[in-house]
Symmetry: C2
Subunit: 187 residues, 2 copies
């Protein structure tokens, strides 16, 4: 069947429901901000580490940084506290239709996530598969297990869909990963 | 009695035992680094938040920041994970011989520490009293309780000594606050 203006009719609700015009980072930041407001959890994006080389003091009260460089992050993007549990994760978008390269996540970040696990925290990776417009939570132990037992250099998308846990979303929490955590880790 | 070179004899061991030639920040950073190496805990200093205004790309691979400013920290200096517990604290040196002004810690930092407490984490302040060369751990609830029930604008040093918990130290952990935490929070 054909309706007049069918394109408009079908595309509008999609945007309105999914609220996914935004990047994964923006979706997580908005979600975290609402977790904080709703008194659900305290999860923050860690500031980007910057090495300051040269500063100027144009006023006594203000310091102007005139030369600085981004340094490689020693840990992950996000950490925080949810119902007494330490939460730590890295988030990545995946544009490929077939796989997610291991090289997208640094070895020292994986090491950090494994450490979090070992010390009793909850450690994972969020991967957005853009072609599906879906976010998945991957336990760090599942990720490491795959990497160690594979001769590949990337995670197949099918593996992510099968072994990962799909993250639901709504308007105020466009990447509601704590709902997923409650189920996966039985909190 | 007078010994030859008595000054040298008395000053040297003091430095060697206490390892306190360093600032509180350096002492905590060294301690955290050794907690990590010894597999005791994962506690990190949060990077200083910087607002980047202008960048240049002299090479394809490198980004040079040409104008940026320090922004006010929204939370605290340190956070991490110890035996399944979320740890969060602010650290301050106190040069005064009589008191520690409330104004040294921002209201939003206290609010953050109270939030950590509410969500099941361990939240406190470390104050170094320089005149005594001693570090004390103050539970955030004790701090807030004093502030709310006092007409003063500062914590008296005597209150810190009485209500705080003295932090021990050794060569590799010059501010060994996790030992204090184990006792105070019965972990």
């Amino acid at each position: 069947m054909k309706y007049p203006n069918s394109r408009k009719t079908y595309s509008k609700p999609k945007v309105a429901y999914s609220n996914r015009g935004m990047s994964l980072e923006k979706a997580i930041n908005k979600t975290n901000s609402n977790y904080l407001t709703d008194n659900i959890a305290l999860i923050y994006k860690k500031p980007t580490p910057i090495q300051v080389v040269k500063v100027d003091y144009p006023k006594r009260s203000a310091v102007k940084i005139e030369e600085a460089y981004y340094t490689v992050a020693s840990t992950t993007d996000y950490s925080g506290l949810f119902m007494g549990h330490y939460i730590d994760f890295e988030a990545k978008e995946c544009s490929s239709k077939t796989s997610f390269p291991f090289s997208r996540i640094h070895q020292h970040q994986i090491k950090h996530l494994e450490n979090v696990n070992k010390h009793g925290g909850i450690a994972f990776i969020i991967i957005r598969i853009k072609i599906l417009d879906k976010d998945f939570l991957i336990k760090v132990e599942d990720y490491v297990n795959y990497v160690n037992n594979s001769s590949r250099k990337s995670l197949p998308i099918n593996w992510i869909i099968e072994k990962g846990y799909e993250i639901t979303y709504n308007y105020t929490k466009p990447c509601d990963y704590l709902e997923t955590i409650k189920k996966v880790y039985k909190i």
